[in-house]
Symmetry: C2
């Protein structure tokens, strides 16, 4: 419940395709708000709202000089999500080995699963 909020805000930011495209665009170099708004067929205000979401969760950073706001990727921004995934992949992988014994021990739990566990990895 405590550190969920950081993961939560990052996931909420990334789940929107437009925001992922903005990230891709910024990965190739910093850009102003109007430069970002142009290729996406949407208004200034909409892009601005996306940028605010991205900045609020630490995925980008922006700086206003004069009347121009320049946005760029925040390098460590994806680290919390990467960590979260890493933490959950190890137990899940370990789970695979234990599965047979867990199911063999408890008899009131899922009844007798055939352990043909053909792991198809990606």
């Amino acid at each position: 419940m405590l550190n969920y909020s950081e993961i939560d805000s990052i996931l909420r930011a990334l789940v929107e395709p437009t925001r992922r495209q903005i990230l891709e665009r910024l990965s190739r170099g910093p850009a102003t708000v109007s430069q970002l708004a142009e290729p996406f067929g949407m208004t200034f205000a909409a892009v601005l709202q996306h940028l605010q979401v991205l900045e609020a969760c630490g995925l980008i950073r922006s700086e206003k000089i004069g009347r121009v706001r320049t946005c760029r990727i925040e390098p460590g921004g994806l680290a919390p999500l990467a960590d979260w995934i890493a933490e959950r992949r190890i137990p899940a992988e370990r789970q695979l080995d234990r599965l047979g014994q867990i199911l063999a021990d408890t008899d009131q739990s899922p009844p007798k699963v055939q352990d043909q566990e053909k792991d198809e990895q990606t």
Copy 2:
């Protein structure tokens, strides 16, 4: 643009806190639908819908034996998202090194240096 849909479905699944909790629960061992529904203060049907979302994007797997459906983690399920993050972290980190020079070159104005990274394709 094409393989976005897999990432998209995984992110949409993970963005819902309840579904992340279901994943946590399943990380500690397989469970039936009713076992999953009990701790969360919600109906059977709601949990079932979450499970369908999780299964549709490959994060869990389920199997029905008799009248009982048993769910478990799909070990490689988070791999596509982990790969997606890894692909985007490397360019972002490389960005960091250039940042200083970019800002040093341009005195105050928005940088216009997006043209030296044309060959970076992910």
